[in-house]
C-alpha cells in the first residue's frame, strides 16, 4: 500500500521524519511524498497501525492544519495522484478498492497518472501535453472514464496512438509500476522560525518547543541524536547573532533540548528586534539506546547525570561546571579543569606538595601583613614558554591561625593569594 501526501508546503522535513514509519520514502513533484507502507506492514501491529503512526507524525509537522493537504492510501503509487484529484483531506482506500475507484474517474485524470520519475521539468511537461492531447481526442470518440480507456485493446491503441499510449494504459491497468525517486535528506538538520510575534524569551521558547518537536521527529527518522546546536538570530538593525551549544551527551528528546536552551538563552539579549531564528544541528551521532537493566539503575542515573551537567553548563558555561579532568602542567591551576565525562585521575604521588583544599579562581593579589608568618614551600619555574614567571609558593599564617596559600610572582613582583587551608 502507498500513502500519498500532497501539500503546498515543503514536505522535505516531514519526509525525513517518515523514515521511522518506513524506509521506503519517495518524492514526486514538489509537495509530494510517497510512503510505501508494505515495507513495514508486519511491524507495529499491521498496516493499520503503521498508517496511524504516519498520520500522527503529520500532526507534529502541523500538516493537519493545511486546508489543501490531500492524503490518499492506494494500492499503487501511480494511481495515488489521480485518486487525490478533487479530494479534500484524506481518502484511505482499503486493499483492492483503489482500482475500481480509479477506473470510475473521468478520463481527464489520465493527465495526473504518475509520470516516470525522476525526469526533467521540460520532459514532464511534454509528457503531460501528450496525454492531454490523447485525452481530448478520446473524449471526442465518446470515452468518458479511465475505465473506458483501460478497456481499449492495447494493439489498436498502439497502432493508432503509438507506444506511449500503450504505456499509459498499462499504468492505468496497474501493469506497469512507475519509477519513484528515493528521498535523500539534507545533511544538516535545519529549521527556521519567523519571529514576527516573538517579543520575549518565553515566546521564543514556546516557538522553539514546536520547532524541536519537529526536529525530534526528524532525528528519530534518521536514528540520530544531536551533539551540538547552533542558533542564528537575524536582527533588524544589527549583524546576525550566533550562539552555539555543544551537548555533553547526545540528545534526541525535544523536551530535554528545550530545557537546555532555556538555561542557555537566559542571558541572551537582542540589541534590535528579532526577525527570524535558524536552528541548526551541525553535529549528530547515531542514536542507539541500549537495553536498561531492571535491577541496576546505574546507566539510567549516568544518563540523568549527563543531562543535569549539560543543563548546568548551559547556565554557568563549560568552564563553570563539571568533573575534574586532570592533565599535565606545572601550574597548580592548570593541573585540572572541569569537564565531562568524569575521567579516572592519575596515580597519586608518593610525596605530594602541601596544597590547600580550597583555591581561588582567578588568583588575587594580596598583601602580607606584619605579624604573619611565612613558610616557604615549593618553587615553580616551568611554563616560561607561556609567559608564566617563576613563582615562589609559601604558606602564610595569620595571627588568628588562618593559613593561606600564597605565591610571589617574580615578574610582577607581587604576592598572590591562590588558596586557603581550611
Amino acid at each position: 500500500m502507498i500513502l500519498y501526501w500532497n501539500s503546498e508546503r515543503a514536505l522535505g522535513p516531514f519526509a525525513e521524519a517518515c523514515f521511522c514509519v518506513t524506509p521506503r520514502v519517495f518524492v514526486g513533484a514538489p509537495g509530494e511524498v510517497f510512503l510505501d507502507l508494505a515495507a513495514t506492514a508486519k511491524h507495529w501491529g499491521g498496516e493499520d497501525k503503521v498508517l496511524e503512526k504516519a498520520l500522527r507524525l503529520a500532526e507534529a509537522f502541523e500538516l493537519d492544519r493545511d486546508p489543501r493537504l490531500r492524503v490518499v492510501l492506494s494500492d499503487r503509487a501511480e494511481w495515488a495522484r489521480p485518486l487525490a484529484t478533487g479530494v479534500s483531506g484524506q481518502l484511505l482506500l482499503k486493499k483492492g478498492q483503489s482500482e475500481a475507484r480509479l477506473l470510475a474517474l473521468p478520463l481527464a485524470a489520465l493527465v495526473d497518472c504518475a509520470l516516470p520519475l525522476p525526469i526533467s521539468e521540460t520532459r514532464a511537461e511534454e509528457e503531460r501535453r501528450g496525454r492531454a492531447t490523447l485525452v481530448a481526442f478520446l473524449l471526442k470518440l465518446g470515452l468518458k472514464t479511465l475505465g473506458d480507456f483501460a478497456r481499449l485493446p492495447p494493439e489498436t491503441l498502439g497502432h493508432r496512438f503509438g507506444k506511449e499510449a500503450v504505456i499509459w494504459q498499462a499504468v492505468v491497468r496497474g501493469e506497469r509500476p512507475c519509477v519513484l525517486a528515493p528521498f535523500v535528506p539534507k545533511e544538516v538538520l535545519e529549521e527556521r522560525i519567523e519571529a514576527d510575534e516573538i517579543h520575549s524569551l518565553e515566546r521564543l521558547l514556546e516557538a522553539l518547543g514546536r520547532t524541536f518537536t519537529r526536529l525530534e521527529a526528524r532525528l528519530r527518522g534518521r536514528a540520530l541524536a544531536a551533539k551540538a546546536l547552533r542558533l542564528e538570530f537575524a536582527l533588524e538593525n544589527d549583524p546576525p547573532l550566533t550562539r552555539s551549544l555543544v551537548l555533553i551527551e547526545p540528545l534526541q528528546e525535544s523536551q530535554a533540548l528545550v530545557r537546555l536552551l532555556r538555561d542557555f538563552l537566559r542571558d541572551t539579549k537582542w540589541t534590535s528586534p528579532l526577525l527570524s531564528l535558524v536552528v541548526k544541528i551541525p553535529d549528530v551521532v547515531s542514536h542507539a539506546p541500549g537495553q536498561l537493566s531492571l535491577f541496576d539503575d546505574g546507566e539510567q542515573r549516568a544518563h540523568e547525570m549527563a543531562a543535569y551537567v549539560a543543563r548546568l553548563r548551559a547556565q554557568v558555561g563549560d568552564q563553570g561546571a563539571g568533573f575534574a579532568v586532570f592533565r599535565e602542567s606545572h601550574l597548580p591551576e592548570q593541573r585540572w579543569s572541569l569537564g565531562w565525562p568524569p575521567a579516572p585521575p592519575p596515580a597519586r604521588r608518593a610525596w605530594p606538595p602541601e596544597r590547600p583544599l580550597f583555591v581561588y579562581f582567578p588568583t588575587r593579589p594580596c598583601r602580607i601583613e606584619a605579624g604573619w608568618r611565612l613558610t616557604l614551600s615549593e618553587k615553580l619555574t616551568g611554563e616560561w614558554w607561556n609567559g608564566v614567571a617563576p613563582r615562589q609558593y609559601a604558606v602564610a599564617r595569620a595571627p588568628d591561625g588562618s593559613r593561606f596559600w600564597v605565591y610571589w610572582d617574580e615578574k610582577r613582583q607581587e604576592w598572590f593569594l591562590q588558596g586557603v587551608f581550611e
Binding site: M305, A321, G322, A324, R348, R355, Y360
Partner: protein, 138 residues
Amino acid sequence: MVHTEVEITRGKTSGIGRGGLVRLEKPLEEVFRAAAQSPDTFLFWASDEGLLNAEALHERGLISVERLLLVKTQTPEDVWRVGQEAVETALFGGVLLKPSRLCALGPLRKLQITAERTRTRVILLTRDRVPHWLCKAG
C-alpha cells in the same frame, strides 16, 4: 579554621546522617570525610568564590574525584539556585554549598524541605549564622 555546617536531612544514622538539620563545626577535610561516607554516591559542590582543589582532594585520598561534581558560579545567589536544583534532582548523596553570602530564609527553608523529600545530605559552609529554628538537634 572552622565552618558552620548545617545539614538538612532526616534520620541521622552515623556521622552526618540523613535527616533533620544538624549543625556541626569541623574543618573542611573532616566535612569531606563525613560527607563521603557512601562511596557510591555522587557529591555536589558549588561556590562563588573559588573551587575545591580537586588535585589536593585526590592526593589526600579524601574522595573519589570522579564522583564529585564541581560548580563555580558568579554570584552567591547562583550558588543557592544551583544548590536547590541539585537537591531536587536527587542524584547526589551530598550537596556542599559555600556561598559568600547567606540567602533569605524562604529559599533556605525550601532547600530544607526539598532535601528532606529527596533524602539528600546538604552541608552549608558559611560564616554567617543560620537561624536557630532551622537547626534541630543532631
